[in-house]
Symmetry: C2
Subunit: 690 residues, 2 copies
């Protein structure tokens, strides 16, 4: 894996998703991801209140300076538009620029544009023949910032009238499949399936207040006095100013809406919504002979699209927040569903935030380290090498902060205020003191990602630290007796006897084992029912991925059918935060000691998207941005399958049927591996192998 | 002075201006000063563009957490209102708080409220019998911030409907005294005197664009093609959407408005404005037998009020920015005109900004140090001791940054990128390399201010460093031969032979001289016409202050009559950035090599307000917030005078007439010194001494 990461630094790609030929809006890297992410996260409802994240949230830089140099054969007039007030400086002199028109002289010119905006991140659009916004520009967070970064942009924002600060996800009107009038003016609306959008109350009369419950089950919607309050309640004053119809300004996730007026003489006649559409179009596809698997893919796709909003949130009803470890998985699924690289990028910035770093990302130690993993896969799938330059200062400062909390031996230990989250496994185990194998492994992975940001001749130290940490994982945690990596190295210098799947799953994923060790791990842990089972789709993602990587698609397909199919059997219209087949009835709604605490539309529930695209269709980038890639399909017991995988240079289409594979390539250099053969896939053309 | 500063730490005042008995809006210290200051500063016009400051601008913290502890004899219902979404936590548990109503149990309670707002600084209002917003609360820039600070508030914001984020200065409609129609649809409006507000164009027809010149002289307004562009031009597209009347969203300063439509078929029939009223009411007053002095006081008051907007800016037409050194003087004048302590506080935060510190304040070394001086006088006049706690982290980080740039001997030297601004004196002198006496003196003063933030037993180091720097000023710069402090200690270890007034003025102000030294300085520098004269009102402020402090009010009165009276004789309706009696005609408008580059309404032009209040009426606080004060009037050649000085505990009224002084005291402990007598001034009562 290290070699692959290193190669990313060496490969220079066109970066198709970053093309900006005619001038596009540009801004300081990360500003919109953080700003939009704040807005979305601050809308989280809890118990009738809005709950912003408990980790630090960061604001935007209100004045930035864009700068670039150009060689002009002739003088030209350039049109500039800014989101904010702005002043243009050409060759060291501020210019008169009536209505944003700047006359730029011929020859070598240095252009600097200061933009100030107190309400949202400043942005700039430059349109001229030679002088235009795009890759040539740098931007500093203050004028003459010596650490100016390459500007960030998004090809979707190319018109002067389409400012990135005005961007909103599209909406369409929607009505419930059923509205029930209940006693005392209460109403219950069922929208038929999990959805996300803006509540619309109609026929509002009188004045007063209303209590609203957003719910994912009818039981939750109708439980007005639960043992503990529902997560997603809202109390709103309404009156003449809202009559006859009121449209919410903030988005909510739900299937059911219950409302009951209280105080005054308020009455409400109807409920509707403006449904917010997914952030990106669905480019990936999967169909096979097994309709249960197809249904699972469809609901997984719905689930992921619901959680991929301005940034990628954990769940739509309860949890509007962005979690680093969850985002790692949302990204991987997204690469196989919509290839929304800008969404990933915005999410990376949102979860990283800014400096100073004062807490682990999301307060969780492994989530700090997993952010680096998300960066690595983002660059691999998107080919966005600029991101590494843009993010390097924040990668450096986060890593410095993490390293300031290592113990004297350079190991990541639980410091006061840190949270160690290795699935919902018994926390007592992680918090007993000592070092968790899993934490050392994600730390090593983070170091490997850091290696990507430096030219090879400069990264010797980082690379050797990464190698040292990896070696130490084996030295400290490998138990010859148990034939696996143990979970915890205790402060007393001994290994805790408990065996868990976690370090062994990641040992398989990140190549920690030789052949005989791998066999022992499979037998002693992965296929050993005595070892505590993985219950959340979160860790199940990695477990099933590890099995797929070992060619056990058949077993995995069975698991997908049982586990995700089990949720479908219970009527799920989106996949859940956790599913325990042993539970029944209302038990399925409960979590965190709350009767309706479980999220029933949870991003990490959508992993079949990834597993089927990556390990069944078998499409894998081998160079950043799919400049090179492999297609190595595995039917895993299916009779036939067909599907599409989005990439920055076009979709890759794979069909396996009647013992033959047909692949239509994208803009990169592909290799089809099938039936013992390895065949090149021509650029944008179709190849078939029997 | 050090003793006085130290005493501030020890004196505990009620802090009347901070009273918050019924619950007031509260926020993270400095957030609104910075946010409102940004908005105002970003509106600066230059050459048809909006020019944000060239130093770093900082955003706001989008999520803050308020916390407090209370002892409740009985449970109570508390009403909370936030600017932003919010969640209330009582004794470690998040609560259900329908419509902001929180039921707080009796006993000892810890309340935490997280507020998130992505659009403007979060704020919170708490109204209960016991539990209410105010001094009891701390606020962190993120949840559980261990460095939470005492909240900031302003008694003007006490109602739920009056959010600090909605606050705007009041306006009233105003029309020009004359409008002239010129060729080609151009118009010239004269508002009769310097003003500030929002342009209103009327009878707009057609579509097109208009060029607008905001001017302080008719000459500037009508000069459509000057040698260099006017500072305050604006180019605006107008059309059907603006017809028939368009009100500007951004404030401009001007006396004249010229406009000329260009492009399309646009025509504009009339010009008016919404005049923005002064930030604070005029509490101070001064009248005497000399009508020229009265007229000077009136125009100085107008000038200061025009520049005291949301924060205190340098000038209203050209320069919408906030400058630290200028603010020092605006504050001192303000203390004698309106006692707008919140305005001073907002300005302090605005000019300091946040961390990281990457440049000197305003880019100017001495302006970093003078900010500390502004803090010291702010605490002395306002009595706002909380500010010291609130600002301490930013005082520390700014001082650390400044100290990181000292030379090996601990002296402030000109580092690359720094600007040394000692008036508009020959810059070659400051930039020759070496150490300027003035810079060491303001550094020492800054250290003395830092001493205020620590309990006496902890500030030994700071105090001794301050003392060491002061001693070194004498050692390095005192010339026995010249009988004064020299300007520059050069890198070759010798003193530059040039004598300037600057270090000697501040030597007098800050007590650097013994009696015989002072005599030599007065004779050899202050009253020596061969020493380069002070030309700007900026340094003239300190020069005249120094003379007043030595009892030379009579000479100073003559200077006021000549210098400020000279501007009145030229028709000034506000005082200028610079006045040179030797110039004539259009020369008065020029500065910075630009024909209309001079600001004709400049805060530092208003210093007679301070000189007359402080050294003629003779009112001086001796303990923070005027808890103790002295009144020591000096007629300085006037026959009689009467006036008022605002303080946090009421106005102090002073009348000197027929050899007797009458003083009405405020809420503090006053002392009247007159005619060799020293008499106590009873609280809020009147005393007369002959």
């Amino acid at each position: 894996m290290k070699k692959q990461l290193l190669s990313m630094v060496l490969v220079l790609m066109g970066g198709l998703c970053m093309a900006a030929d005619d001038g596009v809006w540009m801004w300081y890297p990360g500003e919109y991801g953080i700003w939009r992410g704040n807005a979305l996260q601050f809308e989280r409802l809890q118990w009738g209140a809005e709950l912003p994240p408990f980790w630090p949230s960061y604001g935007f830089y209100p004045v930035v300076e864009f700068s670039a140099q150009f060689d002009l054969a002739e003088a030209e007039r350039v049109e500039m538009t800014a989101d904010g007030g702005f002043t243009v400086n050409v060759n060291g002199r501020d210019c008169v620029a009536p209505l944003g028109r700047v006359d730029v002289p011929k020859g070598r010119v240095t252009i600097k544009v200061k933009v100030g905006n107190n309400l949202r991140p400043p942005a700039l659009l430059v349109k001229g023949k030679t002088v235009k916004s795009g890759e040539a520009w740098k931007v500093g967070w203050y004028p003459d910032d010596p650490a100016a970064l390459p500007v960030e942009f998004d090809r979707a924002f190319a018109d002067a009238g389409n400012k990135p600060g005005d961007w909103k996800l599209r909406r369409e009107p929607a009505v419930p499949v059923q509205i029930r009038k209940l006693d005392g003016g209460a109403l219950l609306a069922d929208f038929g399936r999990e959805t996300y959008g803006y509540l619309v109350l109609t026929d509002i009369k009188g004045e007063g207040a209303v209590k609203i419950i957003y719910a994912e089950s009818e039981k939750e919607a109708l439980d007005e006095a639960p043992a503990r309050p529902q997560d997603c309640m809202e109390f709103v004053s309404l009156g003449a100013k809202d009559a006859p119809k009121c449209v919410w300004k903030k988005g909510r996730g739900f299937r059911y809406v219950f409302l009951r007026p209280f105080e005054g003489n308020l009455s409400i006649g109807g409920i509707a919504m403006e449904r917010e559409l997914p952030r990106a179009s669905r480019r990936g596809a999967f169909r096979c002979n097994d309709e249960r698997v197809n249904a699972i893919w469809d609901v997984a796709a719905d689930t992921l699209e619901l959680t991929c909003r301005e940034v990628f949130i954990e769940g739509v009803k309860r949890d509007h927040w962005v979690w680093s470890g969850d985002a790692v998985q949302s990204f991987l699924m997204n690469y196989y569903l919509s290839g929304d690289y800008e969404g990933c990028r915005d999410t990376l910035w949102c979860v990283r935030g800014k400096d100073p770093v004062v807490k682990h990302l999301n307060g969780i130690m492994d989530y700090s380290f997993l952010w680096f993993d998300a960066v690595a896969t983002y660059v691999l799938y998107s080919g966005d090498q600029r991101f590494l330059q843009q993010a390097k200062p924040r990668m450096d400062s986060l890593m410095r902060w993490c390293q300031s909390r290592l113990d004297a031996k350079g190991r990541p230990v639980n410091q006061p205020g840190d949270w160690i989250f290795i699935d919902w496994a018994p926390e007592a185990l992680h918090n007993a003191g000592g070092v968790c194998a899993f934490e050392m492994m994600v730390y090593a992975r983070a170091l490997e990602t850091m290696v990507m940001t430096e030219p090879p001749e400069q990264n010797f130290t980082l690379a050797s630290v990464a190698q040292k940490v990896k070696s130490e994982v084996k030295t400290l945690f490998w138990s010859e007796e148990n034939g696996c990596l143990m979970h915890l190295f205790k402060n007393d210098g001994t290994l805790d006897p408990q065996v868990t799947r976690y370090p062994n799953i990641f040992g398989l994923k990140w190549g920690y084992f030789n052949d005989s060790e791998r066999e022992r791990v499979l037998k002693g842990v992965m296929f050993n029912d005595k070892v505590m089972k993985i219950q959340t789709p979160y860790m199940r993602f990695y477990e099933l991925e590890a099995l797929c990587a070992l060619g056990m698609q058949k077993q995995v397909l069975g698991e997908i059918r049982d586990y995700w199919g089990g949720m479908l059997d219970l009527g799920a219209t989106s996949f859940w935060e956790l599913y325990n087949p042993a539970e029944s009835g209302d038990q399925h709604y409960a979590m965190y000691g709350r009767p309706y605490g479980k999220s029933l539309c949870h991003a990490w529930g959508a992993s079949p998207i990834y597993l089927l695209g990556r390990y069944f269709l078998g499409v894998e980038p081998t160079e950043p941005g799919f400049a090179a890639y492999t297609v190595k399909p595995v039917l895993g017991g299916l009779e036939w399958m067909t599907g599409k995988v989005p990439t920055p240079t076009g979709d890759i289409e794979v069909t396996v049927k009647d013992g033959a594979v047909t692949v239509k390539g994208n803009g990169g250099k592909g290799k089809l591996v099938w039936n013992g053969k390895s065949v090149p896939i021509p650029v944008n053309e179709t190849v078939m192998v029997e």
